[in-house]
Amino acid sequence: MSQTKAAAAASLQPDAELDITDVVCPMTFVKVKAALDDLDEGQILAVRLNDGEPVQNVPRSLKDEGHKVLKLSEAADGTYRLLVRRAPD
């Protein structure tokens, strides 16, 4: 990621926040889909997710459905933070 892109991503303000660290596959992706469904096209969802299977699968599944994964970063507590922009229906 270039510095300008990183700066842009850092400044992205999520429209909604979701924590999926308390669920496992497939509820991780199901919850993200449901949260995105509540947003409008172009809005941004921030997702807190666990390392391992969620980090491997959730971003990939989101891309498969046409959503734009903007940023995935590790947080201080070992969880990850994912920013995703909702695709049109």
Binding site: P26, M27, F29, V30, K33, A34, D37
Partner: protein
């Protein structure tokens, strides 16, 4: 209305599908499907639609559960023998999925009630076992502009097609009129494999799910036949009959009519 956490979990395998998702699940929950006949076809159809979370399931059947039904009508169980089929089916559905509202008609679907009955639903499943009922449902659905799935089963063979207003052939385009009484045996006389009923009833449920969610291609203008012995599925294109008595440009059938059931059905019904 947002789906609850329990609903997201119950329907997770639907929601995860790109073609269904949250929006499709909401369509299913808002959907109303009428199932005429809680028997071999209606049992699997009702159970899969209940499991899928179809919001309202209408069930119409005049019969009571008979021991000989249980070989294929899996919505009923041994303790249900003697109960009205719609009552037994309601219990199974409510145990399976409390999200589903079940509406029942314990009685015959006839010319004088069929239009009123189908009017309340988005999609109709014909799970009946006799020709007069199949023509009645076809005519009523065509007259009311109500999409429906036809299926028929006997021995090891089944067939199914779907009609949607303005799309494809109706049942009367394919078969014009019922065969003469006794020309075709009923499954009482001829026998039918339970799993075959499961295959065809499940296909009907699949069509209802596709119609409600708006995904895929329905069996409109096509007749699917299944031969369980050779394990052959065939799909035949079927055209509208230009002079069809009910869906043609100058219809002669302008309201539903009760046709005389085959004599053997009457006898069997009286002794059942």
């Amino acid at each position: 209305m947002a789906l609850s956490d329990a609903q997201l979990e119950r329907y997770s395998r639907n929601v995860i599908l790109k073609e269904i998702g949250v929006k499709g699940q909401k369509k299913l929950l808002a959907g109303k499907v009428l199932i005429v006949g809680a028997g071999g076809l209606g049992a699997p159809a009702a159970m899969y639609l209940a499991a899928a979370g179809v919001g309202v399931l209408g069930l119409a059947d005049a019969d009571r559960v008979d021991l000989s039904n249980l070989q294929r009508q899996i919505i009923h169980a041994t303790p249900d023998v003697g109960k009205p089929k719609v009552a037994s089916a309601r219990e199974t559905i409510q145990a399976l999925n409390p999200d589903v509202e079940v509406r029942t008609l314990e009685g015959l679907v006839q010319a004088d009630n069929v239009l009123e009955l189908v009017a309340d639903y988005d999609f109709v499943i014909d799970g009946t076992d006799n020709f007069p009922a199949k023509f009645l449902i076809n005519d009523a659905c065509v007259l009311a502009g109500k999409p429906f799935s036809h299926a028929g089963i006997i021995r090891f063979k089944g067939q199914t097609t779907t009609w949607v207003p303005g799309q494809g052939a109706c049942y009367r385009c394919l078969f014009v009129a019922p065969p003469p009484p006794d020309a075709v045996p009923t499954c009482r006389q001829a026998g039918v494999v339970g799993a075959l009923a499961g295959v065809l009833g499940s296909l009907q449920a699949m069509e209802a799910v596709k119609y409600l969610t708006g995904v895929g291609q329905l069996l409109t203008g096509r007749l699917l036949t299944f031969d369980a012995l050779s394990m052959d599925f065939r799909t035949i294109k079927v055209a509208r009959r230009p002079n069809c008595a009910v869906c043609g440009p100058t219809p002669t059938i302008l309201r539903p009519v009760d046709l005389q059931p085959a004599v053997c059905d009457l006898k069997a019904a009286k002794t059942a």
